[in-house]
């Protein structure tokens, strides 16, 4: 993924979700053992070229 330093986590999730036809609201973003939160910018998170980010499901069960 091509990113700019002031892209946000929310933008990454939306972009990845759109590419793979997923619902962006149903996932969180994992960076190693860290949960990346919506408004955080790449530059503030410390993410660097080559790092792996993963979309992890955030399921909800209920009656």
């Amino acid at each position: 993924m091509d990113l700019e330093s002031d892209n946000t986590v929310e933008e990454i999730i939306e972009s990845a979700a759109s590419f793979w036809s997923k619902d962006p609201g149903a996932y969180v973003l994992k960076w190693g053992r860290k949960l990346l939160r919506g408004g955080l910018m790449i530059s503030d998170a410390g993410i660097r070229d080559g790092d792996t980010l993963e979309l992890i499901p955030d399921p909800e069960g209920g009656i």
Binding site: D2, S15, G32, G62, I63
Partner: protein, 185 residues
């Protein structure tokens, strides 16, 4: 203003050609004569699921977690193999459950500790005292996050000692047979 993030490449996991667990390793169901199954669980995984569900059954709290494993191919059929389950702190009632926000990082630590190239092949959750079925919310979750052909949902009622597997079909869902096997090593 920053340009939006752009996907520049994609790597798709290859589904390896490996036979399913042989019949002499299967401990459930007892009669495997008609079996090809779309879902196989290790006995350890099944026991962990039941232990998790039972731990909160008396309080009638729902629990949930991920089914972790692989998707394999054999004779033009795909099947999911659950080798492990992971969970974390939950936000739960007797009729709802999701991961607690503070539970994600311990969950990620558990995923990173798996040390193999895993797939999240589905999820399990419990319906204490309510029986096994997929509610409207469960189906919505399955459609939003577990919508690949190999994705499964295990629903457990620990008070009625039931466990059933489901996958999406058309606008609803269908029950699927599953097998439990003894892993080696």
């Amino acid at each position: 203003m920053a340009k939006p993030p752009k996907i520049v490449g994609e790597h798709k996991k290859e589904f390896r050609v490996i036979p399913p667990p042989p019949q002499d390793m299967i401990v459930h169901p007892v009669d495997v004569s008609k079996g090809t199954f779309e879902l196989y669980l290790t006995k350890t995984s099944k026991d962990k699921i039941l232990e998790h569900c039972n731990a909160f059954a008396d309080q009638k709290l729902e629990v949930m977690g991920f089914l972790i494993g692989d998707v394999l191919r054999w004779k033009n059929r795909f099947f999911s193999l659950v080798k492990d389950v992971v969970s974390t702190d939950l936000k739960a009632t007797n009729i709802s459950v999701r991961f607690a926000k503070e539970g994600f990082e311990p969950l990620f630590e558990e995923l990173d500790g798996l040390n193999y190239d895993y797939l999240i092949v589905g999820w399990y959750h419990s319906h204490p005292g309510l029986g096994c079925f997929m509610s409207k919310k469960d189906i919505e979750t399955q459609k939003r996050t577990f919508n690949k052909p190999y994705h499964m949902a295990l629903v457990v009622d620990p008070l009625k000692t039931e466990m059933k597997a489901y996958k999406l079909k058309d606008e609803g869902y269908v029950e699927k047979k599953f097998a439990v096997y003894l892993e080696t090593g």
